[in-house]
Symmetry: C2
């Protein structure tokens, strides 16, 4: 007999919900469909979550938040050149961008666009992730300005906001076109913008 493990069950529910939301959005996500991808039933779901909304919140807090911070923010800490760091992360994102991700885009942006006008708590949770993301890039750029690798005449906060917006925009464009080449085309523009933030020192002999 399989021993019932509540933590594992909760993770399975979250993961299945995450995938379902990623494909159909939160409002169109069907609980029965989520459960169909597990061996569980509604009893398990409503034992761990009081309702559908709370399940959605948990997906944001426990999965999407960790993914974004882990992929886009943490690698920016303690890096020599923030521009190079950002470019590396973007290149890595381009490589890991595959199938399901290509079809359904960025989970954070999807939920942001769908739920922010509908549910205030959703909006705040998502916005908080964007704030952390923005702070991560902004602080890295500021540090780059003091280190001399980033142009001193740009505003780190505004630049960070634009970088994130451009990333989400590019992913969204590729998602709609269902063509990864659109992502790469967009990426060229993003790379150009990032390069324009460099402080190029002219050596004097």
């Amino acid at each position: 007999m399989i021993v019932k493990n509540p933590d594992q069950t909760r993770k399975m529910l979250l993961q299945a919900a995450y995938l379902e939301i990623q494909r159909n959005g939160f409002q169109a996500a069907c609980l029965a469909s989520i459960l169909a991808h597990t061996n569980l039933t509604k009893g398990a779901l409503y034992h761990h979550f009081p309702n559908k909304l709370t399940l959605g919140y948990a997906v944001v807090d426990d999965i999407i938040r960790e993914d974004i911070i882990g992929f886009w923010v943490t690698p920016l800490e303690d890096c020599e050149n923030p521009i190079d760091c950002l470019l590396n992360i973007i290149y890595r994102a381009g490589e890991e961008y595959r199938q399901e991700y290509e079809r359904c885009g960025c989970p954070l942006n999807n939920l942001a666009q769908e739920m922010s006008p509908v549910d205030e708590i959703f909006r705040q949770k998502i916005n908080h992730i964007y704030v952390l993301w923005r702070q991560g890039i902004s602080q890295a750029l500021t540090k780059g300005q003091t280190d001399g690798s980033v142009r001193p005449d740009i505003q780190p906060e505004a630049a960070a906001t634009f970088i994130i917006a451009a990333i989400e925009g590019c992913v969204g464009m590729a998602k709609n076109a269902q063509d990864i080449n659109v992502l790469y085309k967009c990426g060229v523009g993003l790379v150009h913008y990032l390069e324009s933030l460099r402080l190029v020192l002219v050596k004097e002999n």
Copy 2:
């Protein structure tokens, strides 16, 4: 007695559907709620449209498409400097960006993110609008390259794709933050990018 005008009725239905979709998305859009914003009933709706999907398609074709082309593409035709033209359009967009638009973002992007993984016809119709938009900017940039106002070393197609992605990204960020200042912050980055496309001629005396 009010004479029943089928064309006008159709327009009323489309407009009400457009607003409802803009707020709740297509899948969550409720036909009863749409009709509640008009003086009409289901009889009228199903006389003009066979089903909800077709109504959604008509909103894309008859409203969103015309809005996008009229605002972002047509003004690019026959303009001296494409960079200046794009900047003017963006500034105008920033001014006209108000309330409902701030809360709900870009209707095209909303539908794109929601429906492109769900319904293939939706995706194609939306993608076609993006293609027209991209062509408009791309052709303007190409013309600018021959005229000498745009740097010859950039790829117009890729640049156009990135510009649109950045616009949609900025609008989406502002929508989620529900703060128009986020839009302006993002706009700074976009303006910087557009300025970087200029071909600056150094006068020789």
